[in-house]
């Protein structure tokens, strides 16, 4: 077949990185990104972009670890290069603190991040309400810079991006050979996935440039993540809430909880409130599907449902999705050969 035409639906971190992986592994493919939203209006733009994995109950641990390791290695190389500031990738060190000692003292990713170790007594004194902690260095992907950098890389490899609201994957069957579904929370409506649900997250993005270390409460609800220009303060985890409007009560709650971890935040300026819906699922939906209507087939690769952990595993899942696209192409070429016989 002539250059396979691949449509990637979605332009958040998953859509853009998946499109890039496909373009990298399949140079003969013609790849296009279709999305109703682009940076700075995607869910990814709200996230802090910290590489601290979320655990997916339905995905085998060794797979999650592989995804995280691939993502970390990929970003580590960028952070060490001249492109780091443009790509928005930087190292950040800090502490994860627990009020009660966690049952798992060594998370599965402790040997992937840098310098992981328990906090010393002296360090814990800074957190009087917490009894145990872990210190480590990890990476942060600042958005919009990272997404804009991905868009720039995509354009350089000839991938085009179109603002378009796709209501149904099937509508693409006449223009494209393969569709890659990276619609994030949009997949709920796009493919009617009832297993996908929003977990509403509200964050504050503030000006507090003296905050150089991250602090995260092990319960995942309160965190302070210093980015290039702003510090992200979080957060909330409201299952099944679809509201994108900021909630003033939550703003106060987030601010107070973060100030109790880092009192100097009382002096933070220019507080901006943002809301995003984590596209949550028991496991990431990373699989092939073939849609067919009236004898016409449309191969689809799904890559969505990364919940709170999108940034942490994005490159790993993008590579896997690209591999699945390769399988789709092989299957198409096989069947077109058979059609000729």
């Amino acid at each position: 077949m002539a250059a396979p035409k691949v449509a990637v639906v979605g332009a958040g971190v998953i859509g853009l990185s998946t499109a890039l992986c496909i373009a990298e592994t399949c140079p003969s493919c013609s790849v296009m990104v279709l999305s109703d939203q682009f940076s700075p209006n995607t869910t990814s733009d709200i996230a802090a972009g910290m590489l601290i994995p979320h655990t997916y109950p339905g995905t085998p641990m060794h797979v999650q670890k592989q995804w995280f390791k691939e993502t970390f290695t990929y970003l580590f190389a960028i952070s060490n290069s001249a492109e780091a500031s443009e790509a928005g990738i930087h190292l950040v060190s800090g502490w994860q603190v627990f009020k009660n000692t966690p049952k798992e003292e060594l998370p599965f990713w402790s040997d992937v991040v840098l310098g992981f170790r328990p906090m010393s007594e002296a360090e814990l004194q800074k957190f009087p309400q917490h009894r145990f902690g872990q210190a480590f260095t990890t990476l942060k992907c600042d958005c919009p810079p990272y997404l804009l950098w991905l868009e720039k890389r995509l354009k350089a490899t000839g991938v085009q991006m179109y603002t378009r609201k796709v209501a149904d994957l099937w509508e693409l069957h006449s223009e494209y050979n393969i569709v890659v579904n990276c619609a994030g929370i949009g997949a709920h409506q796009l493919v009617g996935d009832e297993k996908l649900f929003p977990v509403r997250g509200q964050v504050l993005k503030v000006h507090a440039p003296w905050v150089k270390n991250f602090i995260r409460d092990g319960d995942g609800l309160t965190y302070i993540y210093p980015g290039i220009h702003r510090v992200t303060l979080g957060g909330t985890r409201e299952k099944e809430s679809w509201s994108l409007s900021p909630d003033p009560g939550a703003t106060k709650g987030i601010f107070d909880r973060c100030c109790s971890l880092e009192p100097s935040l009382r002096g933070a300026q220019d507080i901006k409130v943002k809301v995003g819906l984590r596209p949550s699922r028991q496991c990431v939906r990373l699989q092939r599907e073939v849609l067919s209507q009236g004898g016409v087939k449309l191969p689809v690769v799904h890559n969505y449902g990364h919940g709170a952990g999108g940034f942490s595993v994005h490159r790993g899942t993008a590579k896997e999705a690209a591999r699945l696209v390769g399988e789709c192409i092989a299957a198409l070429q096989g069947s077109s050969l058979r059609a000729k016989l």
């Binding site: 290069s81 780091a84 500031s85 950040v92 310098g115 170790r117 002296a122 270390n213 290039i228």
Partner: protein, 347 residues
Amino acid sequence: MRVAVIGAGVIGLSTALCIHEQYHSLVPSLEMEVYADRYTPHTTSDGAAGLWQPYLSDHGNLQETLWNKETFDYLLGHLGSPAAKEMGLFLISGYNLFTQPVPDPSWKNIVLGFRNLTPKELELFPGYSYGWFNTALMLECRSYLPWLTNRLMQRGVKFFHKKVESFQEVSGDGMDVVINCTGVRAGELQPDPELQPGRGQVIKVLAPWVKHFIITHDTESGIYNSPYIIPGSEFTVLGGIYQHGNWNEENSAQDHKTIWENCCRLLPALQKAKIVQEWSGLRPARPWVRLERETVRHEHFQAEVIHNYGHGGFGITIHWGCAMAAARLFGSILQEKKLASPPQPRL
């Protein structure tokens, strides 16, 4: 009684505040005046990035190590207070890099979370095979000196902008004390061949993605003659110049090139950083800090002088410990003059 503090860098202002806080209630007649030819932002302290970190080796000078610790603990205690932001005080983590293994420093248990670097971390720094990671403090003088000044002004301390040429000039007859915090130019008040300038030059850039300090060490070139990168609250300071005996406060194009090339090699992304300012200053270098009393006599004049100068490239690191030691010397002067004797029992 009049107390004249000469010098308004980090040493002069902190010593003034320390003494005033401890003794003003005991000596209600205490009148303190600060004299300096340069005030913030034009002092040597203002050019420093503000990182708390002593030299690698204390050369057996335990006294200075204790003063460093006192300073760190004092600042750490202020971290959670509302004053921290105004003081320019915050925590920062980072890396010290070496080309070969070195013994642990005297301050390893003073800072937080001190450890060796892992092989993975060393991959970030080609050319360096050994290193440390720790969390320390930043105290930015462009905020700290104004904060100290405000505290002093609130206490009624008066400030005078003049170059003091002699101890006599600032003390009158009677029971007066002069606190000599004149830094690198102390030799102009009283010759001191041990005091030499340690010239430094820095480039201030906008590189807000840098969240760690990175200090490299080259045992052959000596302290501060190897590149360092220290991110502040607004600017990132690039440095790595130490020229003993050089009094030149003008920026050198050669030094600029050295700093820029070395730092960009260390952190390639710095090539995209915008340069905001260039600055040169003279570290007041001395084999050890001069912190002692002296009775200075000249014809009919006599004054008690407390010297507190010669803090090299670690003034911010050691300042509070020295201020407290100077305050103790002040206390002993008061005792001798029976100005601050313990309360007598009423008969």
